[in-house]
Symmetry: C2
Subunit: 227 residues, 2 copies
């Protein structure tokens, strides 16, 4: 069975945005896995990977670190299972989409989620998490709360093209979900696990799409501890 | 032979951003076509299409309007020719990418290109073009010139994720170009035909990518009248 090393939250929460990409990719491929939650500050626990960040998988003798590289590994190692990319063009374009999401969606969502998420991480990580996030944000965690409504508006504008697409097709990848859907979903699941703040209005096409993703693979992502 | 109805520029210029997507798709598929340049204001000339905008193709008995629908038509009608999307997942994700480009890249490029482009359209279109573009811009065409350096900076930030991807793979679609490359290229070709202003520094990964696209299909897009 595949082992997944990912961030350990309080109360059994899985709060790593990037691990949710891997979780959904594993579910999409129908691959069983065993979760190994690790505190963010415990670099010794993941030293075997040669790096300092999760997600990491151990698949037999192979260790792969980084959600994008893990997706590529799963697609290459399990070609008979449902495809994440749909071939060479979809693979290349999904890489582009992954970089776009990491550089626009993730930073837009961070100030919305981070203050509440702080209360839901493993307590042992408090100092580590605060130092890292305040480095990204260039302000105190608590200072994000006052600006949260404006941050939700900014995130909404970043999401506008996806909202327009999801009026025309049910998934980011067309008629059925694939890895690019999970890239976007990882941001929403991160928020769902990290904060009670609502990112989307009930009638938003993105909200209906999120429900469709939560229903996938026997409601794999729905039935987890959330904020 | 396929007929392509597209915007008529001054001096034989083909300046329609969206027609460049169709032109590149036709070249990618190896399909010969005959261009029918039409002034932007001449709606009678394209009334046969049932719509008011180009590009339009006539392919035998079939008339298709809108660059995205044309790409879908070409992919379905010529499945033996090189693929634009690479299957269902690539098709769906490329649709998402098309909407993203139309809602972020195109509006970011418009204020950089529009004032110089005005001097390169068919003179018969001057009033029509000005009224339409000033409606989009909410200012006079000439007012864009003072803000052009800032507009180039904004466009550069919108392009940042693509720049990062093109350091890691040669094309937006991976190892080889496909329709999503032509979506991005259409914006650069529109600028190349419309304005002598340079959008990219010489050492920008996007500039090297643009050269690779200009070389494709016997330098199909390189050898046309430019600004």
């Amino acid at each position: 069975m595949i082992s997944l090393y990912e961030l350990k939250g309080a109360g059994g929460r899985y709060y790593s945005l990037f691990s949710w990409r891997t979780r959904m990719a594993l579910a999409h491929k129908g691959l069983a896995f065993e979760s190994h939650p690790v505190p963010m500050s415990d670099k010794a626990a993941i030293a075997f990977s040669g790096g300092r960040t999760v997600p990491i998988i151990r698949d037999g003798e192979v260790v792969v670190r980084d959600s994008w590289k893990i997706a590529e590994h799963l697609e290459a190692a399990y070609p008979e299972a449902p495809s994440l990319f749909g071939g060479a063009i979809g693979h290349g374009l999904c890489h582009t989409f992954n970089v776009w999401a990491d550089r626009t969606l993730v930073p837009a969502a961070l100030p919305v989620v981070v203050a509440d998420l702080f209360d839901r991480i493993d307590p042992v990580d408090r100092d580590f998490f605060r130092a890292m996030m305040e480095g990204f944000l260039k302000c105190k965690l608590e200072d994000t709360v006052a600006g949260r409504d404006k941050a939700i508006e900014r995130l909404g504008r970043t999401l506008d093209p996806l909202r327009a697409v999801l009026k025309r097709q049910p998934f980011v990848c067309g008629a059925a979900p694939a890895y690019a859907d999970y890239i976007v979903f990882s941001v929403f699941q991160w928020a769902r696990v990290g904060t009670p703040v609502q990112l989307l209005a009930g009638d938003d096409p993105l909200a209906a799409w999120r429900e469709r993703i939560l229903d996938l693979h026997s409601a794999f992502a729905r039935n987890v501890p959330v904020a």
